[in-house]
């Protein structure tokens, strides 16, 4: 089995990287979905689904994850102005794949001010809207371990992925006109390491491992939170997008929107589904029928030509004579 033993350990990201070599995964044979590709050969093997678990209740808002992300991906987000919040930069950008979003929320039951910090970024949906919307073959792929990745050399920069995404994640670079987002550190995962953000997190609010293990770990955390009075604590693994490979433990899982507009029930927007479904196939058929009809009529119907009679009648009219009856 080529599976990576480190994936079974929830603390893999915090542990040291493997010293022994093993076969790199996440190649062409691991693709389960490929954008704008009708016939994708079935994957040669099934990798164990992985997940990143972000425990919002353990996050201290230090932004080590952002720094690690910048360092690993070698991006250089612009230095911005302080706009009155700890959030920096002001939004996800083509250079900033993950962002701590801060919300000050007054709990109506306790009247306590709660500081809700959510690490925003790609959720790696099982049913990815970006991939569905993408018109460029192979610009967005999904591996059998669940990671959704942008293959920049195939990207055409149209921004359709932005319209397909229920979480408003992808950003188009105005420099190289490619779409960017969190890769779940697919390049690190492929060689047995956890994502850079998880590696850097000082409180292990971010952990990485198999999706099953992450769910189990989440359960323990939720039990703990409930025992501390957070009766609505729960796991955010939304079904509307088939579940996600980045999950949250929320202390108020009954209202995800309080965490800086985390969608309560995300799904691929119906308009995108209509566009990429019936419009695409029916539209192509309609245009095909119109073209085929024109060709067939052209081949089998007689052309509409000017007759000798038409010419005579025209001449008579010009000569000032009354043309002889209708042509």
């Amino acid at each position: 089995m080529l599976d990576n033993p480190y994936l079974h350990n929830p603390d893999a990201a915090a542990s040291n990287p493997p010293t022994e070599g093993f076969v790199e995964n996440l190649g062409m044979g691991d693709l389960v979905r490929r954008s704008a590709t009708a016939e994708l050969p079935p994957p040669t093997r099934q990798l164990t689904p992985v997940a990143k678990l972000i425990d919002v209740s353990k996050c201290i808002g230090c932004k080590a994850c952002q720094s690690a992300c910048i360092e690993w991906n070698n991006t250089t987000p612009a230095i911005e102005e302080n706009v009155g919040t700890y959030m920096n930069p002001h939004d996800l950008t083509p250079e900033m794949f993950t962002l701590m979003r801060f919300a000050e929320w007054v709990n109506p039951e306790t009247e306590n001010l709660e500081w809700l910090i959510r690490k925003d970024g790609c959720m790696h949906c099982a049913d990815p809207g970006c991939l569905k919307a993408c018109p460029a073959p192979g610009a967005i792929v999904q591996y059998s371990n669940g990671i959704v990745d942008f293959i920049h050399e195939n990207c055409i920069g149209c921004g359709y992925c932005i319209k397909g995404c229920p979480f408003n994640i992808p950003r188009i670079s105005r420099v190289d006109h490619h779409a960017y987002k969190c890769t779940l550190c697919s390049d690190r995962v492929a060689v047995g390491q956890g994502p850079a953000c998880a590696k850097a997190c000082p409180t292990q609010a971010i952990v990485f491992g198999t999706k099953d293990d992450m769910k189990k770990h989440a359960e323990e955390r939720i039990t703990d939170l409930k025992s501390r009075g957070y009766k609505n604590a729960g796991l955010y693994d939304p079904e509307g997008v088939g579940g996600t490979h980045v999950m949250y433990v929320l202390h108020h899982a009954d209202k995800p929107h309080i965490y800086n507009d985390l969608p309560d029930n995300p799904k691929i927007p119906p308009i995108v589904v209509a566009w990429k479904g019936v419009t695409k196939s029916a539209g192509l058929a309609l245009m095909g029928f119109a073209a085929a009809g024109a060709v067939l009529h052209g081949l089998f119907a007689r052309a509409n030509r000017v007759s000798a009679e038409d010419r005579e009648n025209a001449q008579q009219l010009l000569d000032g004579n009354k043309p002889g009856g209708r042509a």
Binding site: H177, S307, L318
Partner: protein, 232 residues
């Protein structure tokens, strides 16, 4: 009402063998073909981004990135070019009651019995339909296209509006392509029409057969027209 607008500026009978009728001025023809080339390029680049099975069309433009960059600019060229075309042609394309009876005889026309179809002025109802359909579709395609022109206008609207615009742009484009197919086919099926848009003139026989009301008007006015052109 449009009985007074049977002919357009520049329309004239040129005696000879065979006698010819000037139908499209040079400016109008240049405009038409600019619009036509832009339209074909838009269809090819648009289809490449519409359906994966047609993505190979992007190679015509030098790859997907170029296709994505060029498509909206070609759209701007088309919009400007069509606007000029619209200003030149709209009066003669106003709808009137005679067009209804033409529509009622559409079966005779397609069936090869054009003699049963009522006499037509400069444009028949089918041509008028293509004109107005394209005018409306291009306006709507331009509006929705600007909304989804990510490079410059992505901050102008919300993503939800952009989603709607994307769906609308696709549907409108499909309709425009169907109208385009109708227009090109009619131009080929009615022999002599294509040449008219190249050379600007048609034979008197063609004018008699397809646009008799227009031809009669020109024939009746020829003497006066000639006098005016000599004086100027």
């Amino acid at each position: 009402m449009s009985e007074t607008i049977l002919v357009e500026t520049g329309d004239a009978i040129r005696p000879g063998n065979p006698p010819m009728v000037e139908r499209y001025r040079l400016g109008a023809r240049i405009n038409h073909w600019t619009t036509a080339i832009a339209m074909v390029l838009l269809v090819l680049s648009g289809l490449a981004m519409f359906h994966p099975s047609l993505f190979f069309l992007s190679t015509i433009f030098g790859g997907g990135q170029n296709t994505r960059t060029l498509h909206p600019w070609i759209g701007i060229i088309l919009s400007v070019s069509f606007l000029v075309l619209f200003i030149q042609f709209w009066r003669a394309n106003l709808w009137n009651r005679a067009d209804l009876s033409w529509v009622a005889h559409i079966g005779d026309l397609v069936g090869g019995h054009e003699e049963k179809v009522p006499e037509v002025a400069k444009y028949n109802a089918g041509q008028k339909f293509v004109f107005w359909a394209m005018a409306l579709l291009i306006l709507a395609l331009l509006s929705s296209g600007i909304i989804i022109w990510d490079e410059y206008f992505s901050n102008l609207t919300t993503i939800e509006i952009q989603r709607i615009a994307l769906l609308a742009h696709s549907i409108l484009a499909i309709l425009a392509i169907c109208v385009l197919i109708l227009h090109v086919y009619a131009g080929i099926w009615v022999r002599g029409s294509f040449d008219a848009m190249i050379t600007g003139s048609v034979t008197a026989g063609w004018a008699w057969r397809h646009h008799r009301k227009w031809f009669r008007q020109l024939a009746a006015g020829t003497a006066g027209e000639e006098r005016r052109s000599r004086e100027s």
